[in-house]
Each structure stands twice: as C-alpha cells, then as structure tokens.
Amino acid sequence: MATNTTAHADEHAHDHDHRPSPYDPRRWLFSTNHKDIGTMYLIFAIIAGLVGGILSGLIRWELAQPGIQIFWGMAEAGNLGTDKMFSVAMADGSHKAIFGNEHSYNVMVTMHGLIMIFFMVMPAMIGGFGNWFVPLMIGAPDMAFPRMNNISFWLLPFSFALATISMLVPGGSMGAGFGGGWTLYAPLSTSQQLHGGPSMDLLILSLHIAGVSSVLGAINFIVTIFNMRAPGMTLHRMPLFVWSILVTVWLLLLSLPVLAGAITMLLTDRNFGTNFFNAAGGGDPVMYQHLFWFFGHPEVYILILPGFGIVSQIVSTFSKKPVFGYLGMAYAMVSIGVIGFIVWAHHMYTVGMGLELEAYFVAATMIIAVPTGIKIFSWIATMWGGSIDLKVPMLWAIGFIFLFTLGGVTGVVLANSGIDTVLHDTYYVVAHFHYVLSMGAVFAIFAGFYYWLPKMSGLKYSGFLGGLHFWIFFVGVNIIFFPQHFLGLQGMPRRYADYPEGFAYWNYVSSVGYAITAVGALVFFYMLLDMFVIRRRKLSAAENASPWGEGATTLEWTLSSPPPFHQFNELPVVVEEKHH
C-alpha cells in the first residue's frame, strides 16, 4: 500500500495530469487507469446492452401474435409449414426439419438473459461506475491492483466473443446455439442428443472467463476499499455507493466459484463421461439447480445492490439532504447480501424438494422484504424535508424507487410456495424480475449515467433529451411488462416460442411496449450524439467541479470534470461533516 502510493507520487512528480491521446490504442489496451478502464467497461456495457436489447426485440417480435413469426427458416429451410403434422413428425423423429427453429427462439431467450446479466448490468455497475467512482469517493489515487484491473476488463470482450460465437456454431440436433435458458439446467445442457454440439462448451468457457474477470475485479475492489481509503474516511463514513459495491463484490467472490464448479461439472459431464447430473449414471439433475441457484440468487442481488448505492447518492444530492438513516441503509445492504445466500431454493419450489425445505425457504425469502422495505422508506425519508430538484438523474432514481417497489411486492407473492405452484415459470415471474432488473437495475444504471456523465466527460447533456428518454422508457417498459403479470396469472409459461390464442391480446400489448421502449433507446443514443459530437458544450467554470450544486457532497465532486488523469496526489483528509 505504501509503496503503491509512493510509486504513483513519483510518476506524477514530473508528469502532472499526463493524459495520453485517446487515439493511441496503447492507452486502452495497456490501461492501468481506473477511469479509463471504467470508461471501457461502460462502452462495453452499452454495446452489449444494444445486442441484448436487439435479442429482446426478436423475442417480442416472435411473440407479437400467435403463430410462428420469425423463428423458422433459420435452419433447415424447405420443410416448413404448419400443414406438416407435428404429431407425426415427433413420432418418427423428423421434427427438427419440420420446425424450422423454435430452438433459435430459445437461443435468443438464453442469450438475452446471459448478455444482459453478465455483459451489460454487471460491467456497467461494478466495472463501470465502480471503477470510476469507488477510488474517487474514498479518496484513493487508483485501484489497489491497476494491472489486475486491466485484465479484469480485457477478459470480458473475449468472454463476450465466445458467447456470441456460441450462437452461431452447431448446438446439437436442434440447430445452432444453446437454447437451454440462462440457467443452463442439466440435463438439457448436457444432453448429447439435444445439445451435443460445441455451442454449450463455448458458453461454459465464456462464463468461466467472465467469472474469472469478476472474481479478479472483486478482489481488487475489496482490497481497494479496505486499504486505500483516505485519512478520516472510516468505513462508516464511506458513501453508500461504496458500501453497495463492497457488499456486491463480496457476493461475487463467494458465489462465483460455486457457479464455476457447477459449470465445470457440466463440462465434464458433456465431454469426459462424468455423471454428476446424469440420473442414469447415478447423478442428480436437481443438484445442478441447487449449485446454480446458490450462485444465482446472490447474483440477482449483485445486479441490484450497486443500483441501491447509486440511487442513494442521487436521492441525497437532488434533495440537498444527507441520506436518512445512513447506518440502517448500509447494514440493510449487508443483511440483504447475507440473507441472499440462504434463500436460493425459492427458485426451485416445484422440483419436489419436500414440505419442510419449502417451508424454510418461504420464511427465509420473505424476511428479505424487511431490509428492502427499510431502503425504500429511507430513500423517501431522505427526500422528506429536502429541497427536491427533479433533474434527469433524480427522475430515473424516483422511477427506480417506484418500479423496484412494484417488482419487489410481486416477489413477496412469489416467495409463497403455495402460490408458486401456479406462478412458477410463468410470465408472472418474467414480469417480476424485469420490474426489479429491467426497471430496477437498468433505471439505476441510467440514473447513475446521467448523474456522473458530466463528471466523466466535462460536458453538458441536454436535460430535455434526458427527460424525454426517461419518460418514453418509463411508459414503454411498463407497457411491456405490466401485462405480463396478467399473462402469468392466466398460466402462460415462460420460454414459449408460440402460444395459444388465449394469450394473444396481452402479448400484443407487450410487443407494442417494446416498440415504444426502442424509440426511447434511440433518444438515448441521440442524446449521446448531441452531447459528444453535435454540441459538445463544456461545463462552465462555475459548474466544473459539480453541476449539481450543494447537494453533491461526495469526494468526486471536489475534483475537476473530467477529473485529472491521476487524482489525489495528496490524499484528501475527511472530517466528520464530510460523511453522510
């Protein structure tokens, strides 16, 4: 630690704010600068989000009305047509030719999930905002292990490339790609007959690499936060965003190895004749689900916790008021993280696990509503008595609070195993987790993006375009996902490429919602174009440190915008008032 800072100090002595040209590829390829790496993470997340968003567009296009719209003819052309009886086809085994490919639809669903989780939300929140603002907020010159930070990032494009290639190579008898859902359940994922091709192996390797990237990043954040806080920046004075990242990276560190183990067993089951999950060989497919969800449930908190932190910063800033109940907020996140490890089997209520186990998981799951409620009410209490400025980031943050609440309460419904026998694996679940992720996590990402974009770039964006983006998104995503509650209550299963007429109406509404949301995304990209290319308005000198006024009290707002290439050559000293 001491040597680390000394090394930096030497470097800066003769090289104050030496910022290499952005056109020099070495600046990015060899970067050890947390802000450059953070920027790369954010750009990567935007690209992955675009890919994942296009996949979801294909999903909604397919589901716009009953009947197969687009997912045939992607393979085995020439044998299509509903007049071919599929009863006969299935009986004689020639089904794959008949069906063009509903499998391709499943591939889209699978990859939409994986890309949005591993290559959009996580890189944006942890890699992007975490890298950028954890060191700034704790008064550190950089991350603890800058070179490790570099490889954390650069593993991701290769992981993403493997995932993308997996969509194109043979998946097995059903066609290209892996179509077993993001959960990769065995034995569908280990079946030689259905997924015998290299696609699933590529996906396993992709997740291994993404996992290594995340674990390295997690170690980096833990060491940074524990060791590199500025004098006076005690743990209980850290901004809540730093707390949220600290809890998140602990979850990553403890849960990802379990995923790595599980998918390694998939790999050996597929290729080396083991039978971990093969019932015929003495294995147990349900064990895979336990392993997966032991990772998977903390993973969903990994996706949302940094959002909690971002929203806390924004709500405080734009209410011009310190966070209400700071310690309660911090330890609510810690307890959500801890409880998140003991509720995993609520994803598996229908596997036949037995009454006592189900009853336990019902009780444990419902407990999570308590710290979550504390967070919601504390945000509102932070605004209470404040002087609220409804600027663009605050719009997204308030949108987050409301939509996350809506998604949270349906989680309480689903927590009850008794009701889950009807709702499990229906669109009710899809609506639930998109309310907490697509509207929770993504709204938090946009909130953070609009909050910190002037800081990261030194430029102003159009508040009008940002607000327009918010309102179109808010309307659009609600039209997509609210009707999916109705579909789920009526029993519509997830991951159906086609559905009976009885589900037609709300599916159509949902697809219209996607079109609206897509317009919102276009506004977002135009906002970026307007900001960085067309107008390029610099922050005025008065606003240069902070465009958000007195409410923005964390350390990043004491620096220039964009911050110097290397900041805090002299460590800031944090005094009592500074914390919140």
Partner: protein, 299 residues
C-alpha cells in the same frame, strides 16, 4: 378494440363453453382466456385456496405500492425546491425507523399465517382413488394408469385437425388424459430425458418431471369438463408444443374410456367405488350434462 380488458376480466370469471367439433355435447372448457387479467377459474379446492390467498396478497401488495407511490408524489410536490427552498438536515428518526421495520414484519407474519397452511394442504397427499403417472419426453407426454393397465401417448393436434374439430390449436391433444370427477387423483410425474414440468393452472398444480425422480402431487376435480395445461420447464425446441389436456368425466364414462383403451376395469372399479367426497369444492355445481362421448379420435 373488441377486447376491452374489463370486459375480458368479467368474461374470465365465467367458465366459457363451446361445442367440441364432432362431439354433440357441450363441454366446459377451462384454459387461458384472451385478454383476461387474473387467475384461471379454480377447478379444485386447492386452486380455490390459491386464488383466495392470491386475492389477499393482491390487496396487500396493491396497498403497499400505492402507499409508496403516494409518499413519492407527496414529497415531490411538498418538498419540491420551489415549495421548499431550504432543505432540512435531519438524518434520523428512531420512531419511524422502528415502525417501518416492525410493520413489514407484522405484515409478513400475517401472510405466513395463510401461506403455510396452504402449503401443507398441497403437500399432504390424501388417500388416492386413482393413480396416474405422467412421463415427460422431448416433446410429448405419456400417461400411464398403472392400476388399470392403460398407457397412452398424448400428442398435440396439428393446426388443420384442431380447426376441423373446433378445438384450440396448441392446447388440444389427440389422446387426452381422462380422470373421473370427484376422485382424488395422485399424479406421479417423471421424465425420460430432460426436465419438464406437468402443470394444469386451473388445478393449482405444477410438478417438475425430473429424470431419475418420481415427484408426486394430487388433485380432485369435482366438475366434469376439459382442462388445459402446459409443460412449464424449458425442455428444448418444442417446449411450447407439449400441451396437457385433461378430460374430467363421470366415473361411468371413465370406465368406458378405460375399457376402450383395453384397460382392466375390475381394479379400476374397486378403487373408484369409494371416492372421497369432493369436499365442498369451489365451483361446486352438479356435474354438467354428462356427455357420453367417445374419446376424441383425431388423425
């Protein structure tokens, strides 16, 4: 727009009927209704319990959501910078912090008072009058009646046949699963290949079909009719094309069906003669016009 959602909600409350093509009798049919916004009509006591519990939860979560929304709107208006230019600086209030911790706990305890009895009721399988084993395959359901010695394979109708018979495409099958009304049916669910899930929403059941395991669930449908369900666990390409059609018929007709499938009636009759009375089941009406139908025989 011909399908207003309120109208649909009302329509959904009624079990709709239509005349099955080629079969000269009205059948009550329970499946998804276009535009509906709630649960499918409950066909079993368990499903009715689930529906009641869901209604309770819906009131609670709606109230919570509207409360949060109301608070958000209030603070946005009352503490807007134009209405309140000088922010206060308080950061603690022990009373409200205790309240918003304790009140949710009480609500959750209240929910669990209803949740656990429902769960226990679902999981405790009563003495069964009939046992059926459903086996998932990629991509079809096989049903066997071990005590009757009947094994059938159930395949979805193709679009032309479904149209010709005026039955719902993607839900109707060539060989439905027959069960007698008012009998406790024990479902054994397993799989031959990948994981599937056997579910009939209006029965309130869903059980994963896991290779190497036999899962168990049960239902008792007092009212005759056709009930549709789905495979509810992603099982590959044709996951969406292995529907479940359950025909609940009178015990006499069930016997005829067993015989038509070459089953052993004797064993069936002995079990079915002592059906547990359908305990005050929700849509308890006298069995609707028992239609002496031949099992549908599509091509």
């Amino acid at each position: 727009m011909k399908r207003g959602w309120i109208g649909s909600a009302l329509a959904q409350a009624l079990v709709y009927t239509f005349v099955a093509g080629g079969i000269a009798a009205a059948q009550t049919v329970t499946g998804p209704v276009d535009g509906a916004i709630g649960l499918q009509p409950a066909a079993t006591e368990i499903a009715q319990d689930i529906a009641n519990f869901h209604t309770l939860l819906l009131w609670i979560i709606t109230a919570v959501t509207l409360f949060v929304l109301a608070l958000l709107i209030y603070v946005m208006v009352r503490f807007n910078k134009s209405a309140n230019p000088t922010p206060k600086k308080f950061t603690h209030n022990l009373t409200v912090e205790v309240v918003w911790t304790v009140v949710p706990v009480l609500i959750l305890v209240g929910i669990s008072l209803f949740s656990f009895p429902l769960l226990f009721k679902q999981e405790q399988i009563p003495e069964a009058g009939l046992t059926i084993k459903a086996t998932g395959n990629a991509w079809r359901w096989d049903y066997s009646y071990p005590d009757q010695g009947v094994d059938i394979t159930s395949l979805p109708l193709n679009e032309a046949d479904a149209k010709a018979q005026n039955r719902p495409f993607r839900m109707a099958v060539d060989e439905p699963m027959y069960v007698p009304a008012g009998v406790n049916v024990r479902m054994l669910v397993t799989s031959n290949d990948v994981i599937h899930a056997f579910s009939v929403p209006s029965f309130g059941i869903k059980e994963d079909a896991v290779p190497g395991r036999i899962n168990e669930t049960w239902f008792n449908v007092p009212k005759e009719g056709i009930y549709y369900g789905f495979c509810q666990e992603l099982c590959g390409m044709l996951h969406g094309f292995m529907p479940i059609e359950v025909r609940v018929v009178s015990p006499a007709e069930f016997d005829r069906w067993i015989q038509s499938k070459g089953g052993q009636l004797a064993s069936a009759a002995t079990v079915i003669e002592a059906p547990t009375t359908p305990a005050a089941a929700p849509p308890a009406e006298p069995a609707a016009a028992p239609a002496p139908t031949a099992p549908a025989t599509p091509g």
